[in-house]
């Protein structure tokens, strides 16, 4: 099994969600994150003192997938999240040794 982690722009979350739903992806976990790379942050000014907010808001999406589905999900996310502007983010895939559904204690692919 695989864990697919994507860091995307907050504005594309809807898109990704819909694209995945049409591919039949059952579930995902989402959390807030801040990123720092090519995309520049912004400047705020308080009583004349300048504050540079280095980090840019992002959303982290995590999806557990069977080995077979991983590639398709990855591509789907990338396509749905692409705006073509700097800051679109990254997707990465890591190996998972075991998955358990807490409610039923099912394990492995059945638990996804």
């Amino acid at each position: 099994m695989k864990l697919i982690t994507a860091i995307v722009q907050p504005a594309v979350l809807d898109n990704v969600q819909i694209a995945l739903a049409t591919k039949g992806v059952a579930g995902m976990t989402v959390s807030e994150a801040s990123g720092y790379a090519r995309q520049r942050g912004h400047v705020e000014v308080y009583r004349g003192a300048e504050f540079t907010i280095d980090f840019v808001e992002k959303v982290r999406i995590e999806i557990l997938a069977s080995d077979a589905d991983a590639e398709e999900i990855t591509t789907t996310i990338c396509d749905a999240a692409r705006t073509g502007e700097i800051g679109d983010g990254k997707v990465w895939v890591t190996p998972v040794e075991d998955v358990i559904r807490i409610r039923t204690a099912e394990r492995g692919d059945a638990a996804i």
Binding site: S34, R40, E44, A49, E50, F51, T52, I53, D54, F55
Partner: protein, 436 residues
């Protein structure tokens, strides 16, 4: 009062636009305040020259020292009267801001609001409170500004919303209030201040002030009930946003009527206004104008309903003390006198102000759009208006700071006319246009 409006509105927008909404609401405290003192008071309360009072009669408050308003044992210094009336002028203008959430250039709002004050509010105040036709020729009943303030502002907001166009995502993306407690803070603050407006319009701690107070309490309270009952039946739940909206709708509705109806009349008026406004706020989705915070649904509709209901509910016992001229001219409301004369008068005045304001506001907004531009760019709107127009964020509640700091060399004295702004942050045309 106007600050309360700033929080009522500010809580309803998303967190990324709260400061801009507050700024749009409070800036009339400065700009309209100055205009009022320069010539607005004079336009409103100077001797009528047809369209409005003469702007020069009390220009800059000259000749006001020693003058009084009202007949003698109850007269008050004209300076105090001008101070009291300034609050009405400011809030009328501030009300309009609610239609323009998240997308209007701040400089364009400053210009729009100043022109709107001059061309829409000052004349209307003359007609309704001063030496003009609604009070003196038509002898209509509008105690504290249902037409001059609420219908006027609501119609202006409708025009401005249409010229501005919709927010990105209007009707499809959710835009829920970011802080409903702040909305309630604003609504209750408005209620508190409105006691001052309505009871204070009696110009003295007299009996009319007493029942204006009671009616203000009942009007707002019953509209609050009317609104949440509609929600309870229609949506299954009474909401806090509905409660706050109902309070404000009730205040709007009772404003023209608070001295002319009995307490029982105020209860009826409140329930009706609350229920109607609760339904009216949905119209924007039907007709597709983005009146973001429902200035039309609450103020135009509420002011209209309140003004017209006087035609039914105007009680001769109360009008005798507060509106003797109207009582004499039109008898009481339909339910008391059986005559529709007062109703007709109220309707004509309400519609007149509505159309006047809509047309003039539309022209002002349109001219601004074609000249200086009225709306921020799509990219800026997505980034959030607080950031691009004010270079600020409303909240920083996290304990983690992803921030670094730089002290400007130019902090004490400006080094150049326009300090450089990162090109991807703001269209420089934006700020340049407004520094003039």
């Amino acid at each position: 009062m106007t600050p309360a409006l700033a929080f009522f509105y500010g809580g309803m927008v998303r967190a990324k636009g709260v400061l801009n909404m507050i700024m749009m609401t409070v800036i009339p405290m400065a700009t309209v305040g100055v205009l009022w003192v320069l010539f607005g008071f004079s336009m409103a309360f100077g001797d009528s020259k047809g369209f409005s009072g003469s702007p020069f009669q009390y220009f800059g408050m000259h000749d006001v020292i020693g003058a009084t308003v009202g007949t003698d044992p109850h007269s008050i210094p004209m300076f105090a009267f001008a101070a009291f009336q300034s609050a009405f002028a400011i809030i009328a203008v501030a009300l309009v801001a609610g239609c323009a959430a998240d997308r209007m250039k701040f400089s364009a709002w400053i210009v729009f609001s100043a022109l709107w004050a001059i061309l829409c509010y000052f004349p209307a105040a003359n007609w309704v409170f001063g030496t003009g036709w609604i009070l003196n020729q038509m002898k209509a009943v509008d105690f504290a500004g249902g037409t001059a303030i609420h219908i006027n502002a609501g119609a202006g907001a409708l025009a401005l919303a249409i010229v501005l166009g919709k927010r990105i995502g209007f009707g499809s993306k959710p835009m829920r209030p970011h802080n409903t407690t702040m909305v309630m803070l604003g609504a209750t603050g408005l209620w508190f201040g409105w006691f001052g407006f309505n009871a204070g319009s009696a110009l003295g701690a007299n009996e009319v002030g007493g029942w204006a107070w009671i009616n203000t309490l009942l009007g707002a309270g019953c509209a609050f009930l009317g609104w949440i009952f509609v929600e309870w039946i229609r949506d299954g739940h009474p909401t806090t946003l509905g409660a706050a909206s109902g309070m404000v709708a009730g205040l709007v509705g009772i404003t023209p009527a608070c001295a002319a109806v009995s307490p029982i009349g105020a209860i009826i008026l409140g329930l009706v206004v609350g229920a109607i406004c609760a339904m009216a706020v949905g119209l924007k989705y039907k007709f597709g104008y983005d009146d973001s915070l429902d200035v039309v649904g609450v103020h135009m509709v509420g002011g209209f309903v309140g003004t017209v209901l006087i035609g039914f509910l105007g009680d001769p016992n109360y009008m005798a003390a507060a509106h003797p001229a109207a009582l004499e001219a039109h008898k009481a409301g339909l339910f008391y006198s059986g005559s529709a004369r007062l109703l007709g008068t109220q309707l004509v005045c309400a519609l007149a102000v509505l159309f006047y304001s809509f047309i003039v506001s539309f022209i002002i907004a349109f001219v601004i759009k074609k000249t200086m531009g009225i709306r921020i760019s799509t990219k800026q709107e997505l980034a959030g208006i607080d950031l691009v127009e004010h270079a600020e964020a409303g909240y920083d509640l996290s304990n983690v700071r992803y921030t670094s700091m730089r002290i400007r060399d130019s902090l004490v004295l400006p080094s150049s006319p326009v300090s450089p702004v990162p090109a991807d942050k703001a269209d420089s045309s934006d700020t340049k246009g407004t520094q003039a």
